[in-house]
Every structure is written in structure tokens, then in C-alpha cells.
Amino acid sequence: MREFFAEYGQLLIDGTAKTITMTVVSTLVTYIIGVPLGVLLTVTAPGSLKPHRTLNAVVGWIVNVGRSIPFIILLVALIPVTRFIVGTSLGTAGAIVPLVVAATPFVARLVETALKEIHPGVAEAALSCGASTRQVIGKVMLRESLPSLVRGASITLITLFGYSAMAGAIGAGGLGDIAIRYGYYRYQDDVMVATIVILIVLVQLIQTSGDLLARTLDKRNR
């Protein structure tokens, strides 16, 4: 055990740090793009605040296309785009672009679902108080759905953990890369098991703290 950690400890720590960086940074960027998209999908829907059939259909279509492409294909197909945006298609930075592209449509739908849970009468009440569309979105819809958005964020983080492992396969580094290089190519089961254990612990941590945070934020049931 001691020997194992002496040999692979640093490798695993670096890998974990890279995986966390990739996941957290891409989740943040994804939300910066995904929240407005989800809002757009919600408010342009028929009967909502600013119904717009064409815009709603176009954005919905793009989101669905984004969600249809398997991540591993997206990963390879996006290499030129990634080079253009971050200068390299390799390493942690190179993984962030495909991760964001893959997760944004997913987050847009999560946000849409969270916003649609709110009773339309609540938005109507805000309008009747004189709120502008922007205020209804910011001060009512997003605020009312905050617990649900937090739950969605932990789902996204966990999904991106999985994706980032795949990105490891094309040289993004991180735990997925370690698992493939040592576990798969070199038959070092102990290293593979160690990476899996770390991933399990991380996923449990995110889910538990996400649930706790959502429950603390939610003022509906007490």
C-alpha cells in the first residue's frame, strides 16, 4: 500500500486536480451559456412571457442536435475549433471546449425544466406588480427555481466528470487518462481501481453536498 502511494500517489493527486479543474471550469462556462439559453427556451415558449414560435423552434432544434451527438465524436470533431479557441486541442484546456459544447444543450434543458416548474400565476403576479420581463426572469423565475437549479448543477458536474474521463482518452489528462494509460494499456489494475475509487468518492461528495445545499435553499416544505 505504502509502495503504491509512493509510486503513484503524486500521479493520482495531479490527475484528480486536473479532473476537478476540467469539470468545474467547464461547468461554470456551461452555465454562463446554458442559463440564458434555458431562459430563452422558456420565455419564448407558447403562452409564456415573450412567445416567439420561430426563435423557440430554432433554439430547441439546435439544442436537440447538440444533445444527439455522442460525446466521443464531438470530442474528435471539435479538435480544429478547440485549437482555434484555446490554441491547443491537448491537455486540460483543450478538453474544456468539447466539454462545454457537450454540456450546454443539456444544461439549457435542465434550466428550462426548472423554470417550467414554477406556477405561471407566480410570474403573472409579478407582472401585475409592475415587474418588467427582465425582472420577472431574474427576481422571480430564476430565484424561485434556485433549489432546482442547484440540483441540476450537481447532475451537470457529475455528468461532466464522466465526460472528462472520456476526454482523457484523447490526451486531456486527468483521472480518465490515468485509468486508460495505466489500467487499460498496461494492465495495472491497482491504478485503475484507485482512479475509480477517487471518482466514486468525488461523485458521492458532489451529490450529497448538492442535495444538502438545495434542501437548505428550498423554503417550500417546512
Binding site: 400565476g121 407566480v122 403576479a125 401585475s128 406588480c129 409592475g130 415587474a131 430565484r143 424561485e144 433549489p147
Partner: protein, 248 residues
Amino acid sequence: MIELRNLSKTYTERGREHTALEGIDLTIDDGDIFGIIGMSGAGKSTLVRCINLLERPTSGTVIIDGVDVTAFSGAQLSGLRADIGMVFQDFNLFSQRTVLENVTFPLDIRGDTREGREARGRELLDLVGLSDKASSYPAQLSGGQQQRVSIARALANHPRVILCDEATSALDSMTTNSVLKLLRQINRDLGVTIVVITHEIGVVEKICNKVAVLDGSRIVEHGATSAVLTAPEHEVTKRLLGAVRWDA
């Protein structure tokens, strides 16, 4: 004064037209508690939503204090709505905000300072008898208490009019009475005009000085409550009064 002139509203759903309101002419004077009564689907909710333009009439005009507001939009519309409070059947409170934050929401969006908002909020909670619930959340309150919060919210901006859309329909009869008393008190003490949408004749009887009966998208009868209730002319009014026996 609220004047509705030849107001009509038609919805088009999947190519089929549905008339919700037709040729509505109505004048609501300052200080009135004006009841609009009708069966389900008569167009009551649509009618009341045309007053603060949550619904746009297809044709006709909405005149408030002599100003044609029908085409208002943007800041003008927000200003108009801020001057007209609204109370809903399902309360429509903000579940993630405290009672005090709910009540002060209209002041928050107007950009009032925190101190100013809280002072006004506490004043309003006092008025509706919920001073001790300021930091509770709506889910912790009973239905009647929630409706009081929404009445306080509707009053936050010192409106001259409050629209009540089936405000007591989700409440039991005792709670209904206490909410109706509160509305009457607001009308008397603050001089706020109140428009009451309801399907219950009892509500009209208890607090409305005038009433209009809506049936099939049209106003079929209107006048002073005492006159309409003692000598109902239209079939629907009689039915609402229970004067026509249930013949099933």
C-alpha cells in the same frame, strides 16, 4: 374611474376562434366595491385581466382616470400595473421569499431602499394582522394567512384599485368572511376601489355595492347590488341566486 368601452377578446387556438368577451361596456367608479359574477367560463378572469392589461383586448378601449391605456407598453405599462394591485385565487406568492419580502416585492422592483421597503412592509403586515409572520415563508402559513399576505402585497404601492380574481374561492367560509371583511376595511379606510371577480353570490351580497353579471362573454345585467339581487331579470342571475331550482 375605470371605463371599459366596447371591449372584446377573441383567442385563436389551432385555427379556431374562441370568444371570451364581447362588447363589454362597464364603468367602475372610485370607491366602488364592484362585483363581477358569472359561471365558470363566462369570461370573468379575462375581463379583470384586461383592466391591468395582463390580457390585451382584441378590440375596444380601457380608460383609467380618463386616460386611454389600451396601447400602453414598457415603462408606462409597468407604471399602470404598479398602481393597480391584484389578488389571485391561488395567492401566487413567491415561495422562496419571506412574507416581508413578498409584501415588499412591488417596492423592490421599483428600486426603493431596503429601509423604506421594510418600514412599509411592516406597516402593511400590521394592517392585515400578520406582524408576527414577517420572516416566515408562505409554505408555513394557512390559506387565509397567505391571502392576507397577497392583499398586503397588492397594497404596497398605495394603489387606487385592487383587482381580486376569485380571491376567496380557495378558502373555507370562515376564512372567506375574514378576508372579505379585510377588503371592506381597506375600501373604507384607504378609499381603494375594489373589483371582485367571483362565482359566489354570497361574496357579492356581503361586500359589493355594484354588480355586473357576465354570461356567454357578455354583460347581461348590472346595477346596484341591492337592485340586482332583489329583482334579478336574467336567467343566469336567478340561477346564481339559487332562485331557479336545480332540475337534474
